[in-house]
Each structure stands twice: as structure tokens, then as C-alpha cells.
Amino acid sequence: MNTEAYEAVIGLEVHTHLLTKSKLFCGCSTTFGAGPNENVCPVCMGMPGVLPVLNRRVVELAIRTGLATHCTIAPHSIFDRKSYFYPDLPKGYQISQYETPICKGGYIDLPSNGDGQPRRVRLTRIHIEEDAGKNIHAAGASLVDFNRSGVPLIEIVSEPDLRSSADAGAYLRQLRAILRYVDASDGKMEEGSFRCDCNVSVRKRGSQEFGTRTEIKNLNSFRFVENAIDHEVARQVEIIEAGGRVLQETHLWDPARNETRPMRSKEYANDYRYFPEPDLPPLIVAPEMVESIRATMPELPADRRARYIRELALTDYEAGVLTADRDVADYFEAAIPGLKNRKSAANWVMTEVLRVVHESGKSIGEAVPPASEIGALLRMIEEQKISLNAAKMAFAAMVKSGKGAEATVAELGLAQVSDEAAIAAACEKIIAAEPAKLAEYRGGRDKLFGFFVGQVMKAMGGKANPKVINDILKQKLAG
């Protein structure tokens, strides 16, 4: 099979919960993990006669997301009813936005592939809608939990600008970073608050035409998205290579079997009978509202990334890792004041700090000592008060004890000795004790220099400044 001759064309539809305290159209809590049907009321249960009232915070968060992705904010948009029957959909329709989304256009720039050029993925739209409840199939019975019913979502729809599963993964990571930067979403896929539908087609490389696409629904992890796309691209190429035609279908991803399967026609509606929601007035967004939200926007991942590359001389990769999470980037920036070597600070955060964070499963604020203490530790390295190894030991101790850098270094006796007289004395003592090695060295065996450094360091209890040892030893050995 000649996969190389084909190119994948991928567009993504991401649904993400918004970080609001209450639901989209009623006052019920959005807290995850409550007992079944605890966060419900007549409105989100779809009782007869109830009416929706729009949550203002949802509109603000949708606008924040729109501004962060360079969208046009619609001054006038409306809500529509999307009709289909499903037990988890209490009203028999979902309130969504169809022809007039709140945000249009826009784009997301992905970190470059190493050539320094950002890759731009265009957005079609972002719209507001409500989530459905959750069907639970227990022994012999089907139950419905409506806690999630009416939880606010935005759907972010991309243009078909992605060309591989890796692209799709990069886009999703970047989008999630943006959502977290603007406090719109926590992006927690495991709680179902960030879900993805993929539209996938393939075409011969160089072709401008689109192939027939299939939609893969409800993927809730980055890995599933990437696996599902790879599987679907391979499936479509195989069909075309065999002379067949790809059918426009909706597929479900089965993570257990690592494959997609077409949904039965009973499982989805093909005519949603959209019409304007008569229970909600048009959503009017005044320019002043947009401007006041714009004034509170944080620096966004792409801007921050560019600034790290430009001002801190970090690489694409380093800047990408550090800015992927707003808290990590904030931590890094809080650690570097007063440091000369930003690059080593970056490395330190990317390796030592993030390793502890990932291993702990906690947030950066909880998992590691405050950024100022890491800054203090790094400064001691720069000032040659401690060695790199000593710093690593101190860091490990600080994570456990929660104590400061200075105190930990003192407590563990990790401070480096730079006293030239003491080091010179130690050097002389070692040279005197090793006349044979000295002769060999002077005879041209340069490699023995390391031996002498090691011996001096050992005599100094490992705390001597290696640079001072080097300088003094070189002089003394030369005679």
C-alpha cells in the first residue's frame, strides 16, 4: 500500500466545558463528581413549562476564547434549537448556536516544526451550547444522570488545515493551553470537559480537491485522537487503493479494539431541524463589553513563546515546553529575576521541576517549592556557592521538607569551598603524596590531570569549587 502518495486532510471540532460555577441556563452547580442527579433542577431536567436564562459568565468566557484565537466577536448572535431524541437530552433538543455563532474566523498558531515558522490553523467558528446528561448502563437497567445536563460548552471548529495526526495533537495541545491561559476551561479530558470530533479525509498528495470525509465522534484523549486519525487515514487509503469509495459516515472510536466503526443510523439524527430558540432573546454583545474583556486578557502562549525565543534566547522547543502551561511559564518567570543564565534556568524548570510535578500528579504550585526559592538555588550555582550536583541534592530535600534554598544548603553542608589557600594546601599535599603519577603527568600523560582533580576534591570532602581546583592544580603540576 502506497501510503506516502496520500495526504490526510483533518478538521477538528472541540467541545470544552467552561469554568463557570453555574450551568448555562439555570443556577445549578457545575461541580464534577457530585452524586447522581444532585446538581439538577426543573430547568436542566426539562420539566414542562421551564425556560432558559443565559449565564452571563459563559458569554464572557466565550468572548475571551474568541479574542485569544483572533476571532471576530459577533455583535448580534442568536441561539437555536437542535432537535434529536436521546435519553440524556431532557428537552429533546439542545440549545446551541447554528447560523450565527458568537465568534467567527480566527486562527491558532502552532509551535514550529523546527524551521522557526509557526503553522497557522484557521478556525471556522466558536459557538456556545449546552451539554447533555450521561447515560449509565448498569446490570439490566439504563439510568440517566443529569448533573452534566446544561453545563456550558463552547464548540471550537477548525478549518480542514491539519495534515497529520501529529498536527492534530499539536493543535489540541495548543488549543488547550490557550483555554487554560484565558481561564475558560480546565481542559480535563479525563472528566469529559474537553472532547473532540475529527473530520478526516485523504487525497493524493498535490491534489487540491477534498476527498469524502468521515466524522469520528467523541474522542476524549489526545492519544485516542491520534490513534483514531491514523487508523482512519489507513482505512481510507486502503479503500481507495482497492478501487473503492469512502462513504460519508459517522464513526465511533473503540479504544479497546483500537479501531473505528460506523455508527448505526439509529444512533444519530441526520436532520436536526434547527430553528431559532424562541425562549431566548438575541445575544447582543456591545463593543464596550468586548473592549473591557480585551483589557483583562493575559499574554497568550504564542506571544509568550515568541518572547522567550526573542528575549531569553531559548530554542523553539524550550519555549514551547515552558509556555504550554500558563502556571509553568509563570513559575519560570518568577524564578529568573537576578539570574544571568536564563537558559540553564529554563533547563532546570523543564527537567528537575517538571519531573517532580509530573511524578506527583499535583499542580506546580503544590508539587514544588516556590519559584523564588528555585531562583535562589540557581543563583547559588551561578555564584559558585554550590555545585550542580549539590543543587540537585538540595532541590530534592527542599521538595520533601518545604524549606528554603539557603537553609537547606546550610543544613546539608553543601556550600562550596572557594578558599584558594585551603585548596592550594590540599593540592600540594596530593602532589607530594604521588611522585610517580606526577612524573608520568609531566612526562606527557595529560589524562592524569583528572586523577589529581579527583584526589583533591576527595580530600576537600567534595565541596571544593572545581574551577579553583583546576586553576591551582594546573599551575602546581606544571611546577
Partner: protein
């Protein structure tokens, strides 16, 4: 102490209650006695709330002693069974909600409760307010108190009949295409459909959300004004509800209509209507002229498209509004192998024929490929109809028309011919499409002694003018209401 307190108007009863000459308990008892006596003939109520009503009356009597009781304190009312009432079965006259007890009150029910009103029961209606005769009820038709072989009108037939027959002093209806005004006309009582958005719809079981509006039935214009004042006003639970201040409608009842310009649209006096209806309404216009008002001819050229537009907009909205009755969370459920069959069986069993007809019509109107031709087109017609009214109101303050082309028709007469039935609302539907206030007041009788209603239509939020004109007509005294046959 006067007997048959149930025959009092709200204004009269309110005064006597305040003076301590009667008690709310006596008033409630007289209504409940009347209900017990004539319900077998009328079937105006789906649920009678005797125990609750007596408790409310007790509480009202305590409150009346304080001298700070609101106007409706202790007044027995009937509530159309389309309003959610906490703890009291709310059926919408449908099998699908036959066992449904809401855990909440509709906003207007809550307001009436707070005002100390007494709810004697939940009144009958066409299932989900779909109908013009109250024959489409899973609980049987409501009969007309003036002639029990005839319909009470609909969909709020129970509320109209209950007031006409003195089973309560006033009642609540809803009006989507004429569902307050037409039964008011058929039963010879006052029925007010306020401006769309004037009254909260929260807790009113939706038929067609952009057309549904809450309103009162009463024995007099003054009583309707008293009830509406309590109902109207901003509600944070209904985003379509107006924040506009609610005037004291009673103060508008000055009796003075001098200089009022009354528009008479030629499209509302059509061939085929019952001659006595036209005669009565034209006579009423003469009375207005004698009171100093001025009649002007107006034209509303798009009137002929109203019924077609209405049956697309209303059914489209209904098809979505009624999707929630799926047997999953409440109401009727017919169990089945899978959820699709559960829906099919439950809805087939739960809904009556007219409701199914309208759900299918609306589903079709919204379907891919038909949306533009039907739903969108009907919205455009709606705009044209609204403009017709706007233009007419440049020349007049109120429009006077008949409410229905005929007086109450016989039971079963139109049940097999939905299109003829739909024509009963030909004069009322445009008012809903345009979102305007409209009131039906009795203005005469036909030769069979059946009441005839006159409709007063005003621009948005002109309820005061409508009440003033209606009250002035009542005061003129040329029309004398006759007692009902039952």
C-alpha cells in the same frame, strides 16, 4: 349575609371581604358547592382542589384582618391546567402528563399565591392548548354553560366556562392563537390576552413559545384589570418577559373614550360569518361613537395569510416543545425493548390526534429542504402582519373586530374537519403573530341566546387603553349580560 357569593365580581367580593361582611371561607365554600353541583354538566375542571382551597381561604381570612391584604386576597380562581402548580397534578389535558405533579409553581401561580388568591381547581383545556373547542382533552370536552350541547371554545374552555357558570370569580387562561378570547366570546365573559412579554411564561407548559401569552378571564373588565396587574411584570426566570413597569390598570378605568379613534378593518368583516355577530359588533362601534369616540376605516391586507403562517410557526415550535415528553423522566411511560421503541409507544399512547397532527406538521415545516419554504416564509409573513397593524395604528388608537366568525358551535360539529376548526381563530390569530394585546368582551347574543364577543386590539403595551374602552362599553349599559342556562 348575601347568599351565592360565587356570583359576585372580584371587585364586589374584595370590598365585602375587606369590610368583614363575608369571609374568604364562605366565598370558597360557595364556589366549591357550585362546582360540585354543576361539574357533571360542564366538566370545566380536570382537578378540583377542595382541601387546598379551604386552607388558602383560611389563611386569606387571617390576612384580611390585617388591613394590608392585596386585592386578590381570598378570591377564588380557576387555574388552567397548563400552569405548573407545586404539589397539584398538572396534566395539560394529556394522557402523557396524566400523573405529573410539578415540584414548582409557575411564576404567575406564585404571584397569585403571594397575593392570597384561593385556587379552587385546575381547569380543562384542549390537550397542550391545541384546539378551539376544548374537545381535544384527554379528560373529555368542557360544555358551554349557555347551552350544554355546544362547546365552550378553546383552548381555555374550562377557564371560560368556570367563570361564566360562577364556579369561580376569575380564572387564568393562555392564548396562543385566540385561546383566551374565543372561549371568552363563546361563554360570554371577559378574556384578556396581554402584549407578548407582558406576563412571565415561566411554568406555563409551552405550546408555541413565541406566541403563548398568559391572561385572565373575568366577569367584568375591571376584574380582568385587577387580575392582570398581579400577573404582569418582569421575571428573572423568563428572558423574554418585559421589564417595563406595570401600570395600575384599574386607574385607567375612567369611562372616558372621548376622541378615541377606533379602527374598523374591512378584512375582519367577511362573507360567511354569522350575520348576528357582525350586527352586534357594528352596534357596539355605534355605542362607542355615541360616547365620543371616532370610527375610522383601516385595512390590513395580509390578514388572509395569518392562519397559514400561524400553523407553520406554532406547529414548528410545538414540535420541539413537545419533544421532552419522552417517558424518560416523568409522565407516562410505555416500557419497551430499547429507548427508540419506548419513545414511539409512549408518544403514540400519550398524545391525542390533534397534538400528533401538529407535531407532524411542525416537524415537516422544519425539515431539511422545507425550512425556507415554510418556517422562514411564515416568519416573513409574520413581519408583514405586524407592519399591517403598525400602519393601522398610525390612524387609530384601538381596533375593534369580532372575536370569532360564529357563536359557540355544537359538540362534534368540527371535530372531523380540522381546517374548518382552524378558521374559528381567523380573527384572533393575527394578534398573536404581531404580539399585540387583545381583549374579548361580551357585546350581544344571537337568536339562540348564545353570547357574541367583541375584540379590542391595541398597539404593544396599550392594555390601559383597551381596559378603559372595554370598561366604558360596560358602563354604557346598552348590553345586559344574561344568566347562563345551567
Amino acid at each position: 349575609m348575601p347568599s351565592e357569593l360565587n356570583k359576585l365580581t372580584i371587585a364586589e367580593a374584595s370590598t365585602l371581604l375587606r369590610k368583614g361582611e363575608i369571609t374568604a371561607l364562605q366565598l370558597a365554600r360557595d364556589c366549591l358547592d357550585r362546582i360540585q353541583a354543576i361539574e357533571p354538566k360542564l366538566n370545566a375542571f380536570i382537578t378540583v382542589c377542595e382541601k387546598e382551597a379551604l386552607e388558602q381561604a383560611h389563611a386569606a381570612d387571617r390576612r384580611l384582618k390585617s388591613n394590608e391584604a392585596p386585592a386578590l386576597c381570598g378570591i377564588p380562581l380557576g387555574i388552567k391546567d397548563i400552569y405548573a402548580t407545586r404539589g397539584v397534578r398538572t396534566t395539560c389535558a394529556s394522557r402523557i402528563l396524566g400523573n405529573f405533579v410539578p415540584p414548582f409553581d409557575a411564576t404567575v401561580v406564585e404571584r397569585l399565591r403571594a397575593a392570597g388568591a384561593v385556587f379552587v381547581g385546575k381547569t380543562n383545556l384542549d390537550e397542550f392548548a391545541m384546539g378551539s373547542s376544548t374537545e381535544n382533552s384527554a379528560f373529555g370536552a368542557t360544555l358551554n354553560p349557555h347551552d350544554t350541547e355546544r362547546v365552550a371554545g378553546g383552548s381555555s374552555g374550562g377557564s371560560a366556562a368556570a367563570v361564566a357558570a360562577n364556579e369561580c370569580l376569575g380564572s387564568l387562561g393562555t392564548d396562543t392563537g385566540g385561546s383566551i378570547r374565543e372561549p371568552a366570546s363563546f361563554c360570554g365573559v371577559v378574556g384578556m390576552k396581554p402584549t407578548y412579554s407582558r406576563v412571565s411564561r415561566y411554568g406555563v407548559i409551552a405550546y408555541a413559545s413565541s406566541l403563548d401569552q398568559v391572561g385572565p378571564f373575568a366577569k367584568s373588565v375591571r376584574d380582568a384589570a385587577i387580575i392582570l396587574r398581579t400577573l404582569a411584570g418582569k421575571d428573572p426566570r423568563d428572558s423574554t418577559c418585559s421589564a417595563r413597569a406595570v401600570p395600575d390598570y384599574e386607574r385607567a378605568l375612567t369611562g372616558d373614550v372621548k376622541g378615541l379613534r377606533i379602527g374598523v378593518p374591512k378584512e375582519y368583516f367577511v362573507e360567511g360569518m354569522q350575520p348576528e355577530v357582525e350586527k352586534s359588533v357594528r352596534a357596539a362601534i355605534k355605542i362607542y361613537e355615541s360616547l365620543g369616540a371616532k370610527a375610522v376605516d383601516v385595512s390590513m391586507p395580509h390578514t388572509g395569510y395569518a392562519i397559514a403562517a400561524y400553523y407553520l410557526v406554532a406547529t414548528a415550535e410545538a414540535s420541539a416543545n413537545l419533544a421532552r415528553y419522552d417517558g424518560i423522566r416523568y409522565g407516562l411511560r410505555i416500557d419497551a425493548e430499547d429507548h427508540i421503541d419506548l419513545y414511539n409507544l409512549t408518544r403514540a399512547e400519550g398524545f391525542g390526534a390533534e397534538v400528533k397532527r401538529r407535531i407532524m406538521l411542525g416537524t415537516f415545516a422544519l425539515s431539511a429542504g422545507y425550512y425556507d419554504a415554510y418556517y422562514l416564509k411564515s416568519q416573513k409573513v409574520r413581519t408583514l402582519i405586524r407592519r399591517d397593524f403598525e400602519r393601522a395604528f398610525e390612524k387609530c388608537d384601538l381596533i375593534v373586530t369580532p372575536v370569532a366568525p360564529t357563536t359557540a358551535f355544537k359538540l362534534g360539529e368540527k371535530m372531523n374537519d380540522p381546517l374548518t376548526m382552524y378558521l374559528s381563530d381567523i380573527f384572533t390569530i393575527s394578534v398573536n403573530l404581531a404580539g399585540l394585546p387583545g381583549m374579548s368582551i361580551p357585546c350581544g347574543y344571537d337568536e339562540k341566546n348564545l353570547p357574541i364577543g367583541m375584540q379590542l386590539i391595541g398597539p404593544p403595551f396599550s392594555e390601559e387603553t383597551i381596559f378603559r374602552a372595554g370598561d366604558a362599553f360596560e358602563r354604557a349599559g346598552s348590553f345586559k349580560p344574561r344568566p347562563t342556562a345551567v
